[in-house]
């Protein structure tokens, strides 16, 4: 039975050989994860789309330089995360503008005030996280990657990745503690 890993290995071989159809297949498989990663770091849909596009462009243009130290997917993640973190750091300004017209109908009139308040709280909690913490949390929680993979993507050690993750979760728990407690009662 073909596993996802086998599919990626075969795709990787073909892509390295310059098979353009394999490249298309690779984009089709990976772009939703890259978009989610970029969005979770940058918190803006249009920027996330731009980052996604830029990352793939950079990925394909620098394919000849690929040394095979990691998988192509890990490499693509690295490009996407670095691109998103660079933009995030460059901004430094407040980017709490909620993409309300986009995020699953968050601006629907039917959405209650409590829910909107909750959305804001979650957004604030994430905003408080540092760029690295946010990236590690996204890669772990939303993309389900292992710490070894995250360390390769981020260019940090696995133990540092674990520390970032631990602190990110601690930060989120701290910011949302009140709300979670309220729900428990």
């Amino acid at each position: 039975m073909k596993t996802k890993l086998d599919t990626f290995k075969r795709l990787q071989e073909k892509i390295i050989q310059g098979d353009k159809k394999a490249m298309v297949r690779f984009v089709e498989i990976t772009y939703p994860n890259m978009f989610q990663t970029a969005f979770s770091i940058i918190r803006n849909v249009h920027d996330a789309e731009d980052i996604c596009q830029e990352s793939f462009l950079h990925f394909f243009s620098s394919l000849p330089k690929f040394e095979g130290k990691s998988s192509l997917q890990t490499w693509l993640y690295r490009i996407t995360v670095n691109c998103a973190i660079d933009i995030l750091r460059a901004r430094k300004t407040k980017i709490t503008e909620l993409n309300e017209d986009f995020i699953n109908g968050k601006d629907e009139p039917s959405k209650t005030i409590e829910n909107k308040e909750l959305s804001l709280k979650v957004h604030d909690a994430i905003e408080k996280l540092g760029a690295q913490q946010r990236a590690v949390f996204t890669l772990k929680h939303f993309n389900g990657l292992k710490f070894e993979e995250i360390s390769q993507i981020m260019g940090i050690s696995p133990s540092t990745a674990k520390t970032h993750f631990y602190r990110a979760i601690g930060g989120l728990r701290e910011s949302l503690r009140e709300y979670v407690k309220e729900q428990q009662t």
Binding site: V24, F35, C52, Q53, I126, H141, F165, L176
Partner: protein
């Protein structure tokens, strides 16, 4: 394992990212410790909350637009069109093959039915002929006049019975 240690491991336990021994130890601890259980539930709720608010789902059109943007900028649009056509052809072929298979299957069922009907009719016809021949023999013995293409003797009728029996036997052996 102490509660403080368990609490430190909880985020990794949640993501199933510990070795088997630690996973099992923490699982047992959580079962028996009310505080750690509460702590773990809080963590789960927090993460679910974040997931609910942060997981972004692009709709079909948005996905298509983004995918096309990426492929266009990477100069891979021609290959994408080729792949789409190939997939459409593969889908069409599979569909046609399935339809043909179903058609022949239905046809075969129908043919079998027809064959069965014909066999039944033939069997009934032969049995009737046999009954007629026996009735004729009875009539000849009783001195009655009978109409027959082969003549009027018992021999002719007995031959006819033999032939019918042979045919029916051959038919049944098939």
């Amino acid at each position: 394992m102490k509660c403080e240690t368990v609490k430190e491991y909880l985020p990794f336990y949640y993501h199933n990212d510990l070795d088997k021994t630690k996973m099992s130890e923490i699982k047992t601890h959580i079962k028996n410790c009310t505080n750690c259980k509460r702590e773990f539930n809080c963590l789960k709720k927090t993460l679910k909350l974040v997931e609910k608010e942060e997981k972004i789902g692009l709709n079909f059109i948005q996905k298509r637009i983004l995918l096309n943007r990426i492929l266009k900028s990477a100069g891979l649009q021609k290959e994408r069109i080729f792949l789409q056509r190939k997939r459409a052809f593969a889908f069409g072929s599979s569909f046609a093959a399935t339809a043909l298979l179903l058609f022949f299957l239905l046809l075969n069922i129908k043919t079998s039915d027809m064959k069965l009907n014909w066999q039944n009719n033939y069997f009934t016809y032969k049995t009737e002929q046999l009954e007629e021949s026996i009735a004729d023999i009875h009539k000849i013995i009783a001195g009655e006049t009978i109409q027959s293409a082969e003549g009027y003797s018992i021999d002719v009728e007995i031959n006819s019975i033999y032939e019918d029996i042979e045919e029916i036997t051959a038919f049944l052996s098939i």
